[in-house]
Amino acid sequence: MKERYLLERENILAPLLLFPVVIYVILLVGFPFVMAFVYSFSNVTVGNPDYKIVGIRNFIDIIGDKVFQKSLGNTFIFTFVSISIVLILSHILAEVLIREFRGKWLVRFLILMPWTAPIALGTIGYLWFLDSVFSPIDWILRSFGLLGSPDALLGPMSNMYWLGRPGLAMVSVILVHVWRLLPLGTVILIAGMNSIPREILEAAQVDGAGYFRRLFNITLPLLFPVIGVTVLFAALFTFTDMTVVWVLTMGGPPPHSTQVLASLAFLKGIQGGDLAQGAAISLFFFPVLAGVAAIVLGLVKKAVVT
């Protein structure tokens, strides 16, 4: 009798259905996650898989490494600057896109494209955009006389060499990050704005609050959790990304002007075969990840409670 209806019982069926996912996650996320820690304290390389634990030597080595310091700095700069710009621009863009107008679906599609299209492919467009000779941006600058004539504002050379000069290469990487994250930020912001009850804004309007008063006293405070989540996700995303740098500059121009932690870890761990050092570098994502996870957890718990 009991056996016949075994699959009806929640306390048996529920774990049974979860079992495959849990096993999979443990094997291919949990286990590698632990191995990342183990590797970082070892001397493992691709050629020498029989490794032994060497303590914190890898960390001492990389912290003393100028390239690592440069990469860490770049990672923070790219993340901080991109997110700040995205935060401002996405508010303006959300204000525009929340209105109704003709052809909105097409505009929406075009504006979302940097996020919805694969970033590696989108970045290829920027390779041409920022090309050392044929850059369309340079062409515009030349057309306006800002570049390429003896007394031009940006110099007498015919090109900016965006990806060839350290400062401009950093600007380029940030540009692509902003370009890519802006749609995401905007979409989440619009979802948040739509969730603010219209009555509240109308009540404020009736009470005589002007646009900016409503923005700063009502809209922004109510949006704060949404903005917070967006910033966290975007920050984690940018901080750990290497695709943009890899496709655009390969970390260059030398010496490592746009190298970031992720690309450095790839360079050392995969291409250089030094798994231990690569793992140690990528472990620097862990505190950021843990911080974001903790905050997301807090938010989720709160959302579940209310």
Binding site: L7, E10, L13, P15, L17, L18, P20, V21, Y24, V25, L28, V29, P32, F33, M35, L93, E95, V96, R108, F109, L110, I111, L112, M113, P114, T116, A117, P118, A120, L121, G122, I124, G125, Y126, L127, W128, F129, F134, W139, W179, L182, I188, A191, D241, T243, W246, V247, L261, A262, A265, F266, G269, L275, A279, S282, F285, L289, A293, A303, V304
Partner: protein, 279 residues
């Protein structure tokens, strides 16, 4: 009156600015893929329009002289396999989390979602060892094995919120009407959740098309590459860039992915948000 004109002007100004900012790389891709080499490689020519008659030579090169179609096919194959695995893993798990598990299930659900936050750049070094131990390097199977690490957690969460949005009573009614739990799921819950499952399929597909880092780390064989790494490593040879083909290839692969993603974006966002709501 003047006020309104300024507001309207500001609105359209901002609109045009953002459209140009977001779409111009794709627009230039579109122009470049049809431009004659002679037109393209003259720095004084307007890069935003055709200065000479258009040509299909770049597309011809792309489809006949390069592995482009192979890259597309590989991406598609990996996509199909990962979608299948994701559905098989995520649907039962989401069902369990949405319907049956109690307090511990809620925590486990959040735990599974958090694994989605772990960036590939933290895992690719140990995973590359796993892949080579299994002898899967340079094989599409390596991607099929690893991609579910991010698609399954995300889709479990998404599906869980879809299942939660279906009243529990509908399922209980099915139990009373003579179904076993499994039957109630296949006959009632699953047909009602088809929109949610389609969303998951589409999203898994776009995630696969977007992925770059694992593919870069695991695959070096030209013939086994997926679209992202294939384009950026095979068509960019040293200093010789096949610009027309490169632009065309990037655009042609981007558009279907972007269309699918855009169509389902709202559902994905609301699904994500709903996952946190009480049932």
């Amino acid at each position: 009156m003047l006020n309104r004109i300024i507001i309207r002007g500001g609105f359209y100004g901002a609109l045009v600015f953002f459209i140009i900012f977001s779409a111009s790389p794709f627009y230039v891709m579109l122009i470049t893929m049809f431009k004659r080499g002679h037109d393209l490689f003259n720095p004084n020519n307007n890069p935003f329009f055709f200065n000479e008659p258009i040509t299909l030579e770049h597309l011809d090169l792309l489809f006949t002289q390069t592995l482009y179609t192979k890259f597309l096919l590989n991406t598609f194959l990996v996509g199909i396999a990962v979608v299948a695995i994701t559905i098989i893993f995520a649907v039962p798990a989401a069902l369990s989390l949405a319907r049956m598990a109690g307090r511990w299930g809620e925590n486990l659900g959040i735990g599974i979602f958090l694994t989605y936050l772990i960036p590939p750049t933290l895992l690719f070094i140990p995973l590359s060892r796993v892949v080579s131990t299994l002898g899967l390097q340079n094989s599409l199977w390596s991607l099929i094995l690893v991609y579910p690490t991010f698609t399954v957690p995300f889709c479990t969460w998404l599906l869980m919120s879809f299942f939660k949005s279906i009243p529990r009573e509908i399922e209980e009614q099915a139990l009373i009407d003579g179904c076993s739990r499994i039957n109630a799921f296949f006959k009632i819950l699953l047909p009602i959740s088809i929109p949610g499952i389609i969303t998951v399929i589409v999203f898994t597909f776009t995630l696969v098309a977007h992925e770059y880092i694992y593919a870069l780390a695991f695959i070096q064989d030209s013939g086994e590459k997926t679209i992202g790494i294939g384009m950026t490593t095979e068509l960019v040879r040293g200093d010789v860039f096949y610009w027309g083909a490169l632009m065309g290839g990037a655009l042609i692969a981007s558009i279907p992915v972007a269309i699918l993603y855009t169509l389902f974006l709202d559902r994905i966002i609301s699904g994500l948000a709903m996952g946190t709501a009480k049932r």
